[in-house]
């Protein structure tokens, strides 16, 4: 294999291996306490009642967190639950957010420091213990992480690549972060935004 082909294939192989880490161990286990049963129960209740605006737990409104993650997960239960089971359908959402987070890391790293740095950053993140743990659990933080990174990447397109139209996805992703976990999302987006504006 000549050097050019190796140079082109290696990043793809590295990214595929990183994705494999996300999928392994996600679909072959039951719910783990303390968080997963509660989150799964809320998603299941949302999928059964069809109320995608206000999360409920054991019939009671549970608005400690906004509904977006639960709504997406409830949608996943409705679509994939009958084929792969409810718990794997829920974990699929987390895995998809993990893939999105890696993609955003790749794009942001590429924009800031070049493609090689982007790929390296994504591969490093994919194999970090904290990342693996968080993206193998049914937890809101997976969605929050994705939306925050996606909004920061959008702002990097606005201010570094000079493409102001990316203000619109930035607004959408910032709203996604808010609708996952409240004000903490926009606050964490505002800090790098201020750094880029300044």
């Amino acid at each position: 294999m000549n050097e050019t082909v190796t140079r082109r294939i290696s990043p793809a192989l590295l990214l595929l291996a990183s994705l494999a880490v996300l999928f392994m161990g996600s679909f072959d286990r039951d719910l783990w306490t303390p968080d997963e049963p509660r989150e799964a129960a809320m998603c299941l209740e949302m999928s059964r009642t069809g109320d995608y605006m206000i999360p409920h737990l054991a019939g009671q409104p549970f608005v400690e967190k906004p509904p977006l993650f639960y709504a997406i997960s409830a949608g996943s239960i409705n679509i994939f639950g009958k084929y792969i089971g409810n718990t794997p359908a829920l974990r699929l959402v987390t895995v998809m957010f993990g893939i999105g987070t890696l993609l955003m890391t790749l794009l942001l790293g590429s924009r800031l420091f070049g493609p090689a740095s982007g790929i390296t950053a994504a591969a490093l993140l994919a194999t970090m213990a904290g990342f693996i743990v968080n993206f193998h659990w049914i937890r809101i933080e997976a969605a929050l992480c994705f939306f925050i990174l996606a909004a920061i990447w959008s702002f990097s397109e606005v201010y570094i690549a000079k493409r102001p139209i990316f203000c619109i996805p930035a607004g959408l992703f910032a709203a996604g972060a808010f609708l996952c976990k409240g004000p903490v999302g926009p606050i964490l987006i505002a800090i790098p935004w201020l750094a880029m504006v300044g």
Binding site: T33, Q60, V63, P67, I168, L172, F178
Partner: protein, 67 residues
């Protein structure tokens, strides 16, 4: 009246997109907050709590319910 330069137009363009992004954010996040407020399910204190213990049920029952 002074004509707009290309630089002025570019600035307007930037500001326009920033306002559009901000409006999208406010409409979506604020929309949910208003909906929640009008639903009567949020009355100053957060229902549900963070303990993860549900009166009369428990994790085992919930785990069964989900799987």
């Amino acid at each position: 009246m002074q004509q707009k330069t290309n630089r002025d137009r570019k600035t307007d363009y930037y500001i326009g997109f920033h306002i559009a992004g901000l409006l999208i954010f406010l409409a979506l996040s604020g929309g949910w907050v208003v909906y929640l407020g009008n639903s009567g399910k949020f009355r100053g204190e957060i229902p549900g709590g963070n303990s993860g213990e549900i009166p009369g049920t428990g994790y085992l029952i919930l785990t069964k319910k989900c799987t």
